[in-house]
Symmetry: C2
Subunit: 135 residues, 2 copies
């Protein structure tokens, strides 16, 4: 079976280097939702070396910091499951008290129709992630 | 309002140091579920220093490694939300193809009654986490 994260089809790329990339997730209920994907097909964080883990997480936290700066969410949600696609990736999701699922995870039961908070422009977000990686 | 993670009431402690602790979560559907909790009342990973983040994640990955070694789950799920309790904590969850929610996150729609895989004894798990912290 072809892994969709290996094939990189239809991704909205915000940032990448030799090891991993950040893409924008198309989720109408949760604008600003980003995914950080390790390029190689590896399943678990503890399958990476400590240095690789640290690098991937530096990118996750650069993305978190960029989203906090640009959207001022009430909370950031971070998750790495890989149950459907066992290829390491992190969900980085800005959450708001009036979003569709709060305080449930975005995979939980909807709580209301939900307000869709204005996300940053892709170019602005991409530039901020790059800045945070230099910080 | 009192923060339940500050008050530490009713926790089944497996490991701790000056900065954070690992507890066993009482979830009948997901044996082996652990939580790694930063002692101080801080909301986001990017509110910690880089050194603090690295330390907390070292404990998360020691817990992941211990659970993998002792339970051989199909996947490990990692998540930090804090929507209900904005005090930094990480969920570390061993997942199996026949568990109640797989391949959904444990916060999603149940898929079946689910088989409950035998978890390690608390003392065995605690010792293995301590070993992994020394590795």
């Amino acid at each position: 079976m072809t892994c969709p994260l290996c094939s990189r089809s239809g991704e909205n790329l915000l940032w990448e280097d030799a090891h991993c990339r950040v893409i924008r997730v198309d989720d109408a209920d949760h604008p600003g939702f980003c995914r950080v994907i390790w390029h190689a097909h590896v399943a678990e964080m503890t399958d990476l070396t400590a240095a690789q883990r640290a690098h991937l997480l530096q990118v996750v936290f650069a993305t978190e910091a960029a989203l906090r700066a640009l959207m001022q969410p009430l909370k950031i949600n971070l998750a790495s499951f890989g149950n459907m696609v066992p290829h390491l990736h992190w969900h980085v999701i800005p959450r708001f008290a009036d979003d569709r699922h709060f305080p449930q995870p975005v995979w939980g039961t909807p709580q209301r129709d939900g307000r869709r908070h204005e996300p940053p422009d892709d170019e602005v977000l991409a530039a901020r992630i790059a800045d945070m990686m230099m910080a």
